[in-house]
Symmetry: C2
Subunit: 323 residues, 2 copies
């Protein structure tokens, strides 16, 4: 039996998983990434983690075909290095060269949102869908476009960043330097910020109660919980947030018209509470009414999505590799 190793190089944790050819996770282990350390040490630790994962399941390294690595940022797919990762504070470092110090295996790299999208396509919410876009709502908004089980990332591998599509010219400042990007309105961080501001301006709001008067405990679920309890300020946060999210989704539909859009990230656990009002916005605002419309779904791969997608990189090669 063949095995595939996926690594998620995350801001907080490095996760290593071993996956079978169907995209099923056999085991994963994680440890803090420690991004303040030299890159060589981070990769050395990942290499040790690979050894541990394989040993725990008595998997022979000879059965492993390659190692795939997902990270937040821009990859150079051909040469296996990180062009830029603002989140990991890395530029032009070779994942391939470092990992191959420990394993004589092919090493593939990819943006982590693209990995998550690939995982949904291989064995998750987009399994039977030829052309999907996965929208990953986290600190920012990461996206992956999948066409026929292949990642599409543009001619220079840096594409599919609708999080940095301006929806409100001159609006909220974004980490990318523009003003009004979608992720400045519809990321998890943005929702938490919007919830906190509403709480601060409404001392009587139930938002305070939901977090036991500790606003640092606000999560993406807080406003939804308080809204369910009937709180007006929270309802306004929820309605506006869903509208922000919807405007970006309608934009994606109008621009590239995929068969399905998959919402992933922690907030997707809300299921229909999120999806139903979002569908109403999308249905009423898309340009091309009167014909078949993209499906809107929540993700199914959970927290292992990036690791699984990274492990599948070699099986489903990118369409954007020229030639």
């Amino acid at each position: 039996m063949r095995h595939y190793i996926g690594i998620e190089l995350g801001v907080n944790d490095t996760v290593v998983g071993v996956v079978d050819k169907y995209g099923h996770l056999i085991r994963k282990e994680s440890q803090p990434t420690g991004i303040e350390r030299p890159f060589e040490e981070i990769i050395k630790d990942a290499a040790t983690l690979i050894k541990q994962v394989l040993e725990k399941d008595e998997i022979d390294i000879k059965s492993v075909k390659y190692i795939g690595v997902g990270f937040p940022g821009i990859p150079n797919l051909k040469e296996g290095y990180i062009v830029r990762s603002d989140n990991l504070n890395l530029r032009n470092v070779s994942v391939r060269t470092e990992l191959q110090k420990y394993y004589h295996l092919p090493v593939l790299v990819e943006n982590s949102a693209n990995c998550a999208a690939l995982a949904e396509s291989v064995s998750g919410a987009a399994e039977d869908i030829d052309f999907s876009v996965t929208v990953k709502i986290g600190n920012g908004i990461g996206c992956g476009i999948i066409v026929n089980n292949k990642i599409y990332s543009g001619f220079n591998f840096a594409g599919a960043e609708p999080g940095h599509m301006v929806i409100a010219m001159g609006g909220e400042s974004c980490s990318c330097g523009r003003k009004g990007c979608w992720e400045a309105y519809a990321s998890a961080n943005a929702l938490i910020r919007q919830t906190r501001i509403a709480a601060e301006s409404n001392p009587g709001s139930l938002i305070h109660k939901v977090v036991n008067n500790d606003l640092s405990q606000i999560t993406v679920f807080t406003a939804f919980e308080a809204a369910k309890l009937g709180d007006g300020a929270a309802k306004e946060v929820v309605n506006k947030y869903i509208e922000y999210l919807g405007e970006g989704i309608v934009n994606i539909v109008n621009v590239i018209m995929p068969e399905a859009i998959i919402i992933s990230g922690e907030i997707s656990k809300l299921g229909e509470t999120l999806l139903n009002p979002l569908k109403d916005i999308v249905d009423s605002r898309i340009y091309s009414k009167d014909i078949a419309q993209p499906e809107l779904k929540t993700a199914e791969m959970g927290s292992a999505a990036i690791v699984i997608g990274a492990a599948m990189l070699g099986l489903y090669k990118e369409t954007s590799i020229p030639g």
Copy 2:
């Protein structure tokens, strides 16, 4: 020698052209479309125009392989009909059935901006570019995405409408029903509106002089001309307009990262006057700096782009036809 007929069903004129296999226009003729008339009559006139065009060049109808038809709206590619064209005020009418009353030839239909984009790709500004987006600035903003000489229009053939991407939530009303769409800020109509408003609020502006005090004569060039003469109000219109156009282009780059973006429509005649400041905005605002960037170019196909692209439809089949 084989010939290909292209028809542009436009709001004002119907244009019929005959084209060789290299996408070179041999001859075209036009007449007013008369959109208030029954669809059958419009197509009957187009059929007569085909006859005239062929006769003038003594081209035998037997050398014609098929007829391609471009129109503003949503096509059903498989069955050759117009799903919806708000501009032509048509819904669910079969171009194929009507044209085949006069010619026993295959009839293909496509959105006119997609035809223009295909023409640029076959023999225009995107000739050597695998993956291009053509942005056609007219009454609205029409776009076509071309991948390897094929039109990409999404799973339901209604995609590639970045003109209806919101860049200013809650902003200017758009014909599509949303508020803040790109075309409400960056179309030719929008620029003319912006120029008129600036003239009305600045009685001493040179805009008045450029149009001989007749604001109904304002074109997409008026503000640029007055700005060149040093007029402050016109300069502001020009700078803002280029920023609006740039915001949408940066969005397209961040979302789908094509190799090149081709600006077409009358305003593209401004050449570097338009392109240079636009490039500055794009370079400074795109998400993925430090790597190869899409080229920004002006269109080369001129007013025959839609006819030529329509004529080429059968040679370069759509990628979005399933199977």
